[in-house]
């Protein structure tokens, strides 16, 4: 028999919420097979089974908060020498995050009870409407004086619910909510966007979008490289406000915004991004993305960011305005690389040719930066982006 304990989830994390059990009591589990999912105030992780065997007991239900080191399950040996479980100890069904407002103590329910004053609704009709999630005030009655008959109620229910739906925020959403509210409260946000030449992406397409050792290179990697290089000249954007001081970080830890489904976000960090080549940047980014996908990020992957980058959310996004990841003072936003007619001068003659353009945006903390410096930084990113020798660096 082996106890399953909640392992250390990284620095400064002492507890987590069990969000999902992947196995039921009685299931056979392999060693290192994902067993449960834990959500901390930093990250959601899948945790592997420490041993092979049969899941005998689940000691912490979904939704329970457990401390690091706590025993959350017991794995028994497979040969049957241990008592097979007869009944699951904790078999609470996964609670749906979506509940009809009628069953939750929401504003809608109490409102319908108070505002239909004087309207006589039979208990049968009320039950039918409640069961169908239909607000009694939304039903046009055909009975005497417009009263709602059973038939009216059944027809209304057949048309689908009208009640508002209350959706419990996932731990990821709650983390995002908390961080964003804090960020807006802490930093007065300024935002500037500039358009830059993006012909470097044509070169990238020409040589192939992989490094020489086969790692994919995406738009984000290329811009990240230019952004990091430009930060050498604009170091006050790689900084933190501490009281009356601006702490300028010598190391550039570049955070990449990653959206989660259905909602929420993570900002995994490429640490010490200052001296990276294009190839190294592409590799680090590729690794990071893989970890996000497989939920193998550690808390350390999420800590220490000094500057962040938001890639184009969709292929047609001109530019998005990011909120600052605290305690950073700037966040770069990369628009989608667009095909565009570009004016080219050759031998004193201007012609229009197919080219690439890109909008870069910078959210900055207006306590310590201003639109001019932000725009200049972005222009410098554009210049350095154009200057990347893709073929040599890949």
């Amino acid at each position: 028999m082996a106890d399953v304990t909640l392992p250390s989830l990284g620095e400064s994390v002492t507890e987590g919420i069990i969000t999902r059990w992947m196995k039921n009591v009685g299931d056979v589990v392999e060693r290192d097979e994902p067993l449960f999912e834990i959500s901390t105030d930093k990250v959601d992780s899948e945790l592997p089974s420490p041993a092979a065997g049969v899941l005998l007991k689940i000691l912490a239900n979904e939704g329970d908060t457990v401390g690091v080191g706590a025993v959350v399950a017991v794995i028994g040996e497979l040969d049957g020498s241990t008592n097979a479980p007869t009944a699951p100890v904790a078999d609470a069904p996964a609670s749906s995050p979506i509940q009809a407002a009628a069953t939750a103590p929401s504003a809608t329910t109490s409102a319908s009870a108070s505002t239909d004053k004087g309207l006589v609704v039979s208990p049968v009709v009320r039950r039918i409407l409640d069961g169908g999630g239909v607000d009694v005030r939304a039903v046009q009655g055909t009975g005497p004086g417009g009263s709602i008959t059973r038939r009216d109620a059944e027809a209304a229910v057949a048309n689908g619910p009208t009640d508002d739906v209350s959706i419990a925020l996932t731990p990821g959403m709650r983390r995002m909510a908390q961080h964003m509210v804090d960020s807006v409260r802490t930093s007065p946000h300024g935002f500037v966007a500039v358009e830059v030449d993006a012909s470097v992406f044509m070169e990238l397409d020409a040589v192939g979008r992989t490094t020489t050792d086969g790692t994919p290179i995406n738009d984000e990697a290329l811009v990240a490289l230019a952004a990091v290089r430009a930060l050498a000249e604009f170091d006050f954007f790689n900084a933190t406000v501490a009281g009356d001081d601006l702490i300028i970080h010598r190391t550039i830890n570049l955070g990449f915004v990653r959206s989660l489904r259905p909602a929420g976000m993570l900002v995994p960090v490429v640490h010490a991004a200052g001296g990276l080549t294009l190839r190294a940047m592409a590799q680090r980014l590729h690794e990071l993305s893989a970890h996000v996908e497989s939920r193998q990020l550690t808390t350390d992957d999420l800590l220490g960011g000094t500057f962040s980058l938001l890639a184009a959310p969709t292929p047609s996004t001109l530019v998005a305005m990011p909120l600052l990841i605290q305690p950073n003072v700037a966040a770069l936003s990369v628009g989608a690389v667009r095909h565009a007619p570009v004016v080219v001068e050759r031998d004193g003659v201007e012609t229009v040719e197919p080219g690439r353009r890109l909008v870069l945006g910078l959210s900055f903390d207006h306590r310590v930066a201003d639109p001019v410096s932000a725009a200049k930084y972005l222009e410098r990113v554009g210049e350095l982006l154009a200057a990347i020798d893709v073929n040599a660096e890949r």
Binding site: K117, G118, L119, V120, S122, P123, V124, V125, G143, P144, G145, S147, T149, R150
Partner: protein, 471 residues
Amino acid sequence: MASESKQFDVVVIGGGPGGYAAALYAAAAGLSVALIERDKVGGTCLHRGCIPAKEFLETAHVLRTIEHAGAFGFTTSTPTVDFAVSQNRKNEVVDQLHKGLSGLLKGRKIEVLEGTGRLDANNSVSVLDGVDAGATLYGKNVILASGSVPRTLPGFEVDGTIILTSDEFLALSALPASAAVIGGGAIGCEFASMLSDMGSKVTIVEGLPSILAGCDTEVASVVQRSFKKRGIDIVTNAKVTGHTPTKSGTTLHLDGVDEVEVEMVIVSVGRRPRTEGLLGEATGVELDERGFVVADEYMRTAAPNVFAVGDVVAGTPQLAHVGFAEAIVAIKTILGEVTVPVNYDRVPWAIYTNPEVAFCGLTEAAAKERGYSVVVKKDPFAGNGRARIIGDTEGVVKIIAEKNADGTAGQLLGVHMAGPWVTEQLGAGYFAVNWEATASEAAALIQPHPSLSETFGETLLALAGRGLHVG
């Protein structure tokens, strides 16, 4: 003239159930109210209708109890009745209720005027006769509740001795040895039942194919069978052509049927609206061809701020409790409150014959006529423990439900009862029908044991698909 008129939020013409309910409900809401009554507050119901009739029927019930006492081991002699005492007791009951009502009206600061009220133009109301003759009032709202009076038959002049209507019958201090009741509706059947129980030889003369024409046929036939068993002659499809007074009464002539010799003829052929003198010039109130006041579902007449409630309203059941309900609808409408009009298809009906009849909702025939496919279940009181105990097993509960697509019973459309104390038992059925419960929803609720209401519960169970005792 308007400056001399006393002004009220509500002036009610008529102090019967519709009128006094309107006055009480309006006063309870803080409105100033005047009530004009030409006779005594309480109206037909209290003085010449429901209450006296039920008191007499209870007299008959007491007699039946004495007659059955032997079966319980009591030795009794053949009871005799001094009907004058019975009449006095009825009067005492009525007087007590009248005093109670008068006190209630006074307590609510309702100005009660004695006389006949007449609505004139622009919501002016005059008192034509009586103690308060000559008074004029102005009502921001006027409620017409002048009620109804017994309809009479041509050739049957009411003299109070040989030819009577319910008005005179309920004032009798001695009962006839024989009587013919013309009209086999609720009122006629109640009188016939009571007279027969009290020992009179009774003939019911009904123009339609059966007595209690508005009732479900199976419920009506319970009463018909019981009546016949007790020796009441029932002549249906009858046409009364006249009568010839004799020394001891009169001879009733019927078309195509043997004439009937009786001491007394009670004419109970319905009630007509009492609207003579009710309306002055240019009131704007509309009457139908039979003289009833036309009102909408909120009891509004064709004239602004003039309402009508109770028996005087066209096309609604002439029942005291319907009058009460209409009064509440009218006052709530005056107050601007949300109100649900009376659903006339689903009001409770109660007939206090022996056996009693009570029902609510559609009869089986009416449901089919309206295009419903129905499921019907019946349970007789003969199998009911409590009915056996009280020795009163005549009767049946019949419930009609809408048939679901799968053939099961759905929403309850009608609950019909005949038998012991069914007028007191209807409540559950009334709620079930009006709350639009299905058979299974209503069947899931419990009736106490042993009780007469178990028959209702048993019928519901059967209707829901599986009965305990009934198939």
